[in-house]
Point group: C2
Chain length 392, copies 2
Amino acid sequence: MKCAVDIESRDVEEMYINIDPIQAGGRLTVDAMKAAISFADGYSVCDNCRSPFRLDYIQKPPIAQFHADLAAWLNMDTARVVPGARRGFQAVASTYVEKGDPVIVTSLAHYTEFVAVEEAGGIPLEVPKDEKNHITPDAAAEKIEAVILEFSKTPPLLFIDHVDYQFGNVHDVAAITKVAHQYDIPVLVNGAYSVGIMPVDGKALGADFVVGSGHKSMAAPAPSGVLATTNEHAERVFRTTQAKGDVTGRTFGIKEVEMMGCTLMGVTVVGMMASFPHVKERVKHWDTEVAHSQAVVDALLSIEGTKVLSDYPRQHTLTRIDTRESFDKVAQQHKKRGFFLSSDLKKRGITGVIPGSTRVWKFNTFGLTEKQIRHVGESFVEIARENGLNIV
Amino acid sequence: MKCAVDIESRDVEEMYINIDPIQAGGRLTVDAMKAAISFADGYSVCDNCRSPFRLDYIQKPPIAQFHADLAAWLNMDTARVVPGARRGFQAVASTYVEKGDPVIVTSLAHYTEFVAVEEAGGIPLEVPKDEKNHITPDAAAEKIEAVILEFSKTPPLLFIDHVDYQFGNVHDVAAITKVAHQYDIPVLVNGAYSVGIMPVDGKALGADFVVGSGHKSMAAPAPSGVLATTNEHAERVFRTTQAKGDVTGRTFGIKEVEMMGCTLMGVTVVGMMASFPHVKERVKHWDTEVAHSQAVVDALLSIEGTKVLSDYPRQHTLTRIDTRESFDKVAQQHKKRGFFLSSDLKKRGITGVIPGSTRVWKFNTFGLTEKQIRHVGESFVEIARENGLNIV
């Protein structure tokens, strides 16, 4: 069925249990879907834009209130919506990083952090991960020292992923910000895999900036995200334009430079807003989500030869699994080769594992029901058994 | 009716004829609405992302083909989608403008151009408009000369609005780019009020960059837009990341720095795509749209004391009208004061004029049917007559 000329309708979320690593937290809630239909037109939220003419001041729909609620919920002082987490990174990097500045990221940093630093003219430098795939405060301190020595300059910014995209490991952000602050380095916490799916307390993390992704973890349409900060930094990162027309004398009021004036319009911001009450509620049930994740990982680990590369026991729903000694052995003999796994999963109504992957791959169980979790775990075990693997 | 907790459903486009100056070109087509429903989930377009893992390479939905089609349609060499026209300005300014560089804009430039220049560290300087509210090539040349003299430096970039947001006047972009090119200054054409509603031929305009807005003029959800360029500039503005992890040795493939890696996901890009065939068709009927605009303006001008501040005869659907000597005279006596006009229009099923405005205001007739146009024109005249104004 087509939804437009040349565009096949998407029915993945209706027809399958989707364990795609990046899609789980961005599925819309029912309210967000209704809001998306209601506010899909371009400048739909601007019907009631009144002086001082900035999108985040609009009261109907209650965008202004949403901003205040977002900041409070993250336990930060102020927040803005942005077109994706990466645009939050960009706003902060563009403000704090000068050409040639060393900027601390980590060995588990998402590529968009590198790109944001590069775009600002900085040099991204990685804190090494330890053998358990964690970023430790000691490693951070050591890297900061080394960078200061090499560049004769304190890095203006440190990025740390609350939960990294590679392993779904939860890092000790509070300890790392403590170290960074000893050097007066502000810290941006990348919450793309935490804000909206697990509890995040910016102040407890010691964050100077918390960035979240609407389409990754806040059940919102893309591109959407949030950049929250403290009173200490708000004036700088959210500075208003100083531009003035040299001929006309025009000035541009309270438009914020790094936000490029008005922020997210239409469907994206209203989608975030409509999901927000549900998102606030769902993070309270994070323990259940983690238990679900653990159940599927345990099912996988019952297949002889399978290893989990993420922290075990699991503390997150995103997991990196190593099936080189299990499913990949099957792939070597199977007439469908590595495609047998995604194909067998699909027969059981499960999608989201990259077709062909049987070596090291990731999946995300966020948002599945108890029954779906059981089905996913059992499906992996059945597929293994049917293909002659031992269950231990 | 609410579409989510605290969010009233929006029914403006269903219940009213909307002549809001910024909303007309961004109303979704039926196909875009269907696509929005189908692809509203966060990372919905990423189901079939395969190596080299960049969003604009995805074939299903046909995002890659859409990019090629967009460039061809604008008669440019290559194009990318961006989260709004302003993010296109930002990408170009960030690439071409160094701190302290003078950048040429105009007295009719949209504020987002100023902000993009400011964000890049540049100094925006305006080409004056003439008494007819046009930017002339002579004025551009004069300004360029003056700036070179003052800064001992050729500006790295010139922004020109194809159609300005203040008057909806169509400017002689081809002549202005010719002047700029004599000084080797690349030109960014802001097509926020042209791309998607009237024919735009980038090469004929001599544009180095054409930027369009999805939510303003391409019947797409927000935030969306397009940045198109020539082969001469593509490599620079769409340069791929050179970042490399100093510890891990990671590199990040073909992700583009100014695009922040992957571009528009989900509902925004698919909305643009679904509307695109209709948008390509509708620009062919621009003459009819202009005639419609002219008809409403003529109706307004039949009300004694009313003046049109935009070009006359009209060449665009966005018009700035001066009713200080007509509707504002009524407002001074009316118990609803200036609100009588929007209120009387609303009774006739027309919305989009800022409540309270009776002095100088703007409206946009784009996309209305013949019958709606007649109704809008007649409504203005009737309201005038009912309130004792002369019809001439």
